[in-house]
């Protein structure tokens, strides 16, 4: 039991932070709007080992990292508003040759069958080579060249180019229920990691502004009302982070607990943290927070994109309630069995 980052994990985080810092100011964010991830940055990401982290080596041996390492990296990538089809490229890399080394970029979308299929929004489809369609019981691969024309307008998040397709063509099955479940679990947990980073980035932005901006002759960060907004941001991000790390650790070592339940908790809390902190950053920056030139809206919009993938807060809340109900039923049944045994014994 040691819920600390190892030295290797700390080093990985430092590496990712260095990578991100080259892209971290407002001007850089604006320059990336609507654009595909630039090729140099993408191969740099490959170089620091993020995209291929989950891919077993060629001899079938262990992957270079586990969910925990990817979560640590993704948190920073979220915090610095990194662009590109990171999430699906990383989680699908074990199933898509070339994804782990950045040669094949992967977009993806969850498909819920049984509903009238409306238009499907897919982040980063236009800059990807492969689209993964994740069904409850299988994983399909579609070449993006085979996709119909997108009917999208300006994307909600200017940093997340998003295509909209009226229909999805059928693809090639590349995984069954087991792979589908693993993609869902990784996608949920790593979305939570990105959201945790988004929440932290929004807090950094708000705290930095509050320390510098003066009104009534003092920094606005000296007003209790602003302090309390910032403190609540801190609490949200702290909870999101601990839940996310726990889920990742359970994916890597199932003895530590029920990863599916932990992933739901993480996604729920990280979604609340991302959206809550994005909104609060707008508020702390006041009028300036409402302008396009400042960072808060980028965090808020990215948070919404991530909230809408891999299950919303409401979905995960119900999933957790289901887990609690199952636990209660088991306990009751166990108690009943014990009761019957006792009665039988005393009869």
């Amino acid at each position: 039991m040691d819920f600390r980052l190892s030295d290797e994990q700390l080093a990985l985080r430092d590496t990712v932070v260095s990578f991100c810092k080259g892209h971290s100011d407002v001007a850089a964010a604006a320059s990336r709007e609507g654009k595909p991830a630039d090729a140099a940055a993408w191969s740099e990401l490959v170089g620091i080992g993020v995209l291929g982290m989950l891919v077993p080596d060629e001899t079938g041996g262990a992957a270079p990292g586990g969910a925990a390492e990817v979560a640590i990296a993704f948190e920073e990538l979220g915090r610095y508003l990194c662009v590109g089809p990171l999430l699906w490229s990383t989680i699908a890399a074990p199933l898509v040759a070339g994804a782990g080394d950045g040669e094949v970029r992967v977009a993806g979308v969850r498909v819920e069958p049984g509903l009238p299929v409306g238009p499907v929004a897919v982040e980063h489809a236009g800059e990807s080579d492969v689209l993964i369609a994740l069904y409850p019981d299988r994983v399909e691969r579609v070449e993006t060249a085979d996709l119909p024309v997108s009917v999208a307008g300006e994307p909600f998040d200017p940093l997340t180019p998003t295509a909209v397709f009226e229909t999805l063509p059928a693809g090639t099955a590349i995984g069954g229920a087991r792979e589908a479940a693993r993609l869902r679990l990784l996608g949920t947990t790593l979305s939570a990691a990105l959201l945790t980073g988004v929440a932290q980035g929004a807090l950094d932005t708000a705290a930095g502004y509050a320390a510098g901006r003066k009104q009534f002759g003092v920094p606005i960060g000296s007003f209790q009302a602003v302090k309390h907004l910032l403190a609540d941001m801190y609490v949200r991000v702290a909870l999101a982070r601990s839940a996310t790390y726990a889920a990742a650790a359970m994916i890597d070592d199932p003895r530590a607990g029920d990863a599916v339940r932990a992933a739901s908790a993480a996604k729920l809390l990280a979604g609340e943290a991302g959206i809550g902190n994005g909104r609060t950053a707008v508020q702390v920056l006041g009028g300036m927070g409402f302008t396009w030139e400042m960072l808060p809206h980028y965090f808020l919009k990215r948070a919404w994109v991530l909230e809408q993938g891999f299950g919303s807060a409401g979905d995960h809340a119900l999933a957790l309630a289901g887990a609690l109900a199952a636990e209660a039923t088991e306990t009751t049944e166990a108690a009943n069995r014990a009761g019957r045994t006792t009665k039988a014994a005393s009869a």
Binding site: G153, F156, Q283, G287
Partner: protein, 394 residues
């Protein structure tokens, strides 16, 4: 305590409804967002129609070209106006709701005679020049300087958050005329002609991607002394005096809009399938509970608005509940638009035209409600200090 409208009010309603049913469709669709010259033309033409039909300045005193109607008829007007989906007041807002009332209260006869009819007829568009980059919540710390030069003021400085200044003819401008006075003193209120060298307007892009607001750079702009409203260095009082005109209707139209948004949300939820068996989002009692709560608050805000109006009519002063309306309206608008975004789900992300894109815009726009015209933090201070009598902060 009587919540029914009088027969006279209802007659007014019938006439107005018929007029709107004819004129709103005839006026056509508004121009696309962002085309401000077209928007100006559209809005001012509509204002002229209101004027010709006798519906301009319902709340202005008759002595100044208004109709001076009872507040109950103003409420009828707002209800019908919203129900008919008539054009938003938009570019006529500052003139009709702010500059006009200020001139009525504090202007000279000449100022009133020139400007008021032009505002009522939609001939001039006004903007506001109050906020500055370093004077937001702390408005009185403004630094735009006006120096007397004969019978003119020469003005240098920068204003921000001037709504629709790109299409404005006049600006109600707060300037510092005595730099040595303590901060609330030494401020004057000027009418600035926007069409002159020395006035540069730059649109600001906001988080909804649009440009409702502008920065205004003043570099040697001129205003004749006869354009000053109130005494020199008495502009802070003039500004606050305008508040006396606030009869509790400031958020009335916004609240009616919230009601439509809740209705639209219910319709989306009832028609969005969630399973193959005909289930919809509306089957989720968590959603229904949340919508029920929001709806209760919207209804109550409307009643609180009516109470505030009745109170203001009795006392001649704005009702203190106005702050409660502002605070709760702002949060509620954010809650409702956020919930709408949530139930629309992933289609919002792609930005394709239609309901989802409008919902995204409404949500992002709503974020300014807790910031503009006094942040919710400042508003809470005011409620605690002015209504509940708490001491000013240490």
């Amino acid at each position: 305590m009587d919540l029914t409208y009088s027969e006279q009010d209802e007659r007014f309603r019938v006439e107005l409804r018929a007029w709107l049913a004819r004129e709103v469709p005839a006026h056509g669709a508004p121009p696309p967002p962002g085309d401000w010259p077209a928007r100006r033309a559209y809005d001012t033409a509509w204002q002229r129609k209101l004027y010709d039909a006798g519906y301009a300045g319902l709340h202005w005193p008759t002595a100044f070209g208004g109709r001076g109607v009872a507040v109950s008829q103003q409420l009828v007007y707002l209800e019908e106006y919203a129900a008919a989906n008539a054009p938003y007041i938009s570019v006529n807002f500052v003139g009709m709701m702010h500059a006009g009332p200020t001139l009525i209260a504090e202007g000279t006869d000449e100022q009133r005679a020139f400007h008021l009819p032009r505002i009522l007829r939609g001939e001039d568009v006004w903007c506001q020049g109050f906020s500055e980059p370093d004077a937001g919540s702390d408005l009185a710390s403004l630094r735009t300087r006006a120096v007397r030069d004969g019978d003119e003021y020469v003005i240098h400085g920068q204003k921000i958050w001037s709504t629709r200044a790109h299409v404005a003819d006049y600006c109600e401008l707060l300037v510092r005329t005595d730099p040595d006075a303590r901060k609330h003193r030494g401020i004057s209120w000027l009418i600035l002609d926007m069409h002159q060298p020395g006035v540069e307007v730059r649109p600001m892009r906001t988080i909804d991607g649009e440009s409702h607001f502008c920065e205004v750079f003043l570099d040697g702009a001129h205003a004749p002394v006869s354009n000053r409203v109130g005494e020199e260095n008495d502009g802070w009082r003039v500004t606050n005096v305008t508040l006396r005109f606030e009869r509790g209707t400031a958020f009335a139209q916004h609240i009616i809009t919230l009601r439509s948004q809740v209705r639209a949300l219910v319709e989306v939820a009832m028609t969005t399938p969630t399973g193959p068996g005909g289930q919809t989002l509306w089957d989720d009692s968590a959603l229904r509970t949340q919508v029920g709560r929001l709806s209760a608050s919207v209804d109550a805000l409307w009643r609180l608005t009516q109470m505030g109006i009745a109170e203001a009519e009795r006392t001649g002063l704005p009702a203190p509940t106005g702050s409660a309306v502002k605070l709760r309206f702002s949060e509620l608008a954010q809650e409702i638009t956020e919930l709408t975004l949530r139930i629309l789900g992933r289609p919002v992300l792609g930005g394709a035209a239609g309901r989802a894109r409008e919902a995204a815009r409404d949500y992002l726009w709503s974020l300014q409600y807790t910031i503009a015209a006094g942040t919710s933090q400042i508003q809470r201070n005011l409620v605690a200090e002015r209504i509940l009598g708490m001491p000013r902060s240490a």
